[in-house]
Amino acid sequence: MKRHRGDPSRAADAGFLRAERRARLRLALLVWIVPYAALFAARYGLGYAKLGQPLSWLPVLLGLQLFATIGMVRDLRHARALVGLAALLYLAYFSGLVPGFAAVSSVLPQLCIVALMAIALWLPFSSGQLSLAQAGFMALGAYASAWLTTGSQWPFLPALLAGAFGTALVGFVVSYPALRLRGVYLAVATLGLGEVIRIFFVNFEPTGGAFGMSGIPRYTQTWHLVLTLAVVCAVLFALMRGRIGRAAWAVRHDEIAAAALGVETTRIRILTFTLGAFIAGLAGGLQAHYVRFIAPENYGLAALIDWLVIVMMGGYETFVGPLAATVVLGTLPELMRFLSDWRLLLNGAILVAFLVLRPNGIIGRELLGWRFSPMRVARDGAAPVAQPRAAVEADASKVLLAVEGVGKRFGGLLALTGVCFEVERGQIHGLIGPNGAGKTTLFNAITGLYAIDAGSIVFDGRPIHDLRPQELLRRGIARTFQNIRLFGHLSVLENVMLGGHARMKSGPLRCALGLDRREERAAAQRALQLLGLLDLEQVAGDAAETLSYGDQRRLEIARVLASDPALLLLDEPAAGMNAAEAAELGRLLRRICGELGKTILLIEHDMELVMSLCERVTVLDHGQLVTSDVPAEVQRHPAVIAAYLGSADTQTCTPGAGRHDVRVAACEGVP
C-alpha cells in the first residue's frame, strides 16, 4: 500500500514535490555526512583526542542513521526494507560479530528492563497523557518488593506482585486528579510527583535514605525478564488492537469527538495510567532483584530522559516503536563503552534531532501494517448482518425532540433566548439563520457539550439537558461537527467502527484475553455495510485524511450512523460542496431517513438544499426563534428575509439635522 501524498499530477503540487525532495536530500546529508564531518573536525581540527578514531564510531552511528532513514523515506516498501536491514545489523551486534561488543546474554537483562519502562511511559501517552512520574513508580515497586523480600522474607513472586499491584494502586489514586489536567500541565505535575517520591526515599531512613538499600537477594533471572516482556507485549497487543486501542487513539487525538462517539474518556485515561504504573512497578521490582542494590538517585531524571528519548524516537502509535528504539538506543552504551560519559549528551542531542526530524516517531502503524480492525476480518464475512431497523412502536409519540424555551448565556452575552421548536419522528428538519445566530450553540446544548441556563430539551419523552455526550449517544442522539473531526490517521473503516464504540461490549479484560474477536468481526462487518450504503466501500482501508472533502463528509455520516441513533444532528453537512455534490447529499439523507427510519436535524447555509430537502425549517436570529414552518412559508416570511438580507428601514439617530456622524454613539441601543 503506497503512502498517499496528494495528487502529483497537479501543476501546483509538482513544484511543491520538488521542494520536498530537495528538503529530504538535505536531511539525508545531515543524517549521514554531518556526524562524521563533525567528528573529524573535533578530532583533528580541535585535537580532541578522547573521541578516538572517527571511523570507530561507525557501529554507534550506523544503527542510529539507519533508524533515522526509516523515517525519511516515502515508500513503505523501502522503509520496511530498511527495517529489515536494521534488524540484521543488530542481530550482528548481538551475535558477537562486532569486536568489543558483548554477546546478547549480558545485554539482554538491561535491555528488557529499559524496554519495560519505555512501555510503561508509552502506555498513558497512547491515550494522550504524558506521565513523567514513571521513575517514581518504578522506585515504589522496587522499594516495596525489596522491603518484603529482605525485611519480611517473602518469596520472590508474591513480593514482586505485591510491589507491582501496590504501585498500580498508587497510580490509580493519582489518575483521578490527573483527569483534570491536560497536556503540559499533566506532564509537569507528574514530573513533580516523581521527584517527590524520589525525595521521600532520600529521607526515608528505614530503606537506607540517600544511601539506598543493599543486599537484595538475586532472584531475577534473565528468562524472568524476557518472559515478563513477552507477556506484557502480548497482552498489550491483544488489548490495543481492538475496541480499547481505538478508544485510546480517539481520546489522544480528539477528546471531544471521542466523547461524542460514546467513548468513556475518563475510563480510558484511568486504565492506561494505572496499567502504566503497574508495569513500572513490576519493572522496578524485577530490576531491584537483579542488580541487588537500589538508591533514590537511580530513579531520577537521568533515567526518565532515557525512556523519554526512546518513546519519542520510537513513536507513540504502538508499543513496537519503544521496543525498536530500546534496541537502537539501549545498545549504545555497549557500543560506546569507550565513551560512557558521553551517553547522556548523546541522548539529549538524539532527542532534539529526532523530534525535529519526525515528531511522531519513526515506527508507526502504517509501517507495521497494523490496523485496529483488519479489513480481512471484515471481509471474512459470512452471512450479511440484517440491517437493524428502528422499529417505531404504534403508540410512540410523533414528536421526537422538543426544545422548550431554551436559553444559554456566556457571561454577559445571551447566545440563546426562549428557543422553542419540535422535531417529529422520521422528519428532515432544517435549522438556519445568519452567522452568529446560535445554531451551533443550540446543537452543543442538545448534545450535552453546554449546559443550558433556561428551558428544557426533551427527547423521546424524557428530559436530556443535563446528560453527558456519552449518555446521549446511548439514548440515541448522534452528531457531526462543523469542522470535520475525523481521525485522519485511522482508516475509513476504523473511523466508522469508532462510531459503533458504544454499541460494543468488550471491556479491557475481554480484549486483553482475546475474547473480543467475534464482536470485532461483527462490528467490522456492520461498518463495512454502512460504508457500502454510503458508497465508500472502495476506500474502506485508506487513511481518512486522504479522502476527498466530499468523501470525508460522507464518512462522517457513516460514522454517526454506526451507533444506530434515532436522531442525527448534522452540522453543515454540505459545507464546501458544489451544487451536484449537495444534491447527491440530499438524496443520501432522504434515503437514510426513509430506509433506515432515522430523524435528521441539520444546520445548513445552502438554501437550495435546505428548501428542497427539509420538511420543516426553523430559523434563528440573534439567539432567538424567528419562525418554525414549512420551507415555502419560511421563504416568504418577512422576518426571515429581514434577518438574512437586512432591514430596509434605517434608524439613524442624529442630534443635529442632516449630519451623519459617529457622535450618534450617545443613542446606542442595547449591545
Binding site: G576, Q651, H660, D661, P671
Partner: protein, 237 residues
C-alpha cells in the same frame, strides 16, 4: 486602485474561491455580498495576505500585492478589519490604537492621530484606559476600525462589520463608513446584510459558491429579485 485577477483560494482540497475578478476604484465603496459560505471572507483574506492565493493575483495601484506577507501589505496602505473584530482584549483601548500604528515611524503624528481618533469616537475616549475585552460589541467594532485607521490606510477592507451587533449600532457604523469615504477613504466591504451594505456602497459584487454571479450599481441590485434568490434559494413566489 485595487484589482484581483482570477483569484482562487483553497483550503486543502476545497476551493473556497474559484476565480474571482473584481475592481475597486479610488474613492469608491464596493460591497461583496452573498450568502454565508460563499467565499467572501476568503477573498478578503487573500487580498490582505493572510491566506495564500492558489491561483490568480492581486494588484494595488498597479503593483502586485500577491506573494507579499500580511505586514508588508499593511505598509503598502491596505488594512483589513477582520471578522469578529479581533481587537486585543488584554491591551487597553489606547494600546490597541498604538498597535494599529505599529508600522509608522512618526511618533509625534501617531500621538496626534490617537487624539483625533478619540475625538471622533467619544465612547472610546471615555474608555481609553480600559482593557479592550471590557468593551461592548459595538465599541469593539469602532475600536477595530479606529485601529485600522491608525495606519493611515488608503484602502480599508472590512469583513462583516455588522455581525453580532444591534441594528442601531450597525447604523452608526455604516454612517461612519460613509463619512470616512466622503473624506477620501476607499472601502471594500464584505457583508451578509445586503441591504445595509448596498445602502452605502457605490457598486457591489454578489458571490455564491466561490464565484461572482452578479455585479453592478447598488441601486440596480437592490431593485431586482436576483439577490433574494442568491440568499434564500428558490425565487420568491
Amino acid at each position: 486602485m485595487l484589482a484581483t485577477q482570477d483569484l482562487a483560494v483553497r483550503y486543502g482540497r476545497i476551493e473556497a474561491v474559484k476565480g474571482v475578478s473584481l475592481r475597486v476604484g479610488a474613492g469608491e465603496i464596493v460591497a461583496l455580498i452573498g450568502a454565508n459560505g460563499a467565499g467572501k471572507s476568503s477573498t478578503l483574506l487573500a487580498i490582505s495576505g493572510v491566506l495564500a492565493a492558489a491561483r490568480g493575483g492581486v494588484s494595488f495601484d498597479g503593483r502586485p500585492l500577491s506573494g507579499l506577507s500580511a505586514h508588508e501589505i499593511v505598509r503598502r496602505g491596505v488594512v483589513q478589519v477582520v471578522e469578529g473584530r479581533a481587537i486585543f482584549a488584554r491591551l487597553t483601548v489606547t494600546e490597541n490604537l498604538l498597535a494599529g500604528a505599529y508600522t509608522r515611524r512618526d511618533r509625534g503624528a501617531v500621538a496626534t492621530d490617537i487624539e483625533k481618533m478619540l475625538d471622533r469616537f467619544p465612547r472610546l475616549r471615555d474608555r481609553a484606559a480600559q482593557l479592550g475585552g471590557t468593551l461592548s460589541g459595538g465599541e469593539q467594532q469602532m475600536l477595530a476600525i479606529a485601529r485600522a485607521l491608525m495606519s493611515r490606510p488608503r484602502l480599508l477592507l472590512l469583513d462583516e462589520p455588522s455581525m453580532g451587533l444591534a441594528p442601531l449600532i450597525v447604523d452608526a457604523i455604516f454612517d461612519l463608513l460613509a463619512e470616512l469615504n466622503r473624506e477620501g477613504l476607499t472601502i471594500l466591504l464584505v457583508e451578509q446584510n445586503a441591504v445595509k451594505a448596498l445602502g452605502i456602497a457605490h457598486r457591489a459584487y454578489v458571490l455564491a459558491n466561490g464565484a461572482v454571479v452578479d455585479e453592478g450599481e447598488s441601486q440596480a441590485l437592490l431593485a431586482d429579485g436576483r439577490l433574494h434568490e442568491a440568499y434564500l434559494g428558490m425565487a420568491r413566489s
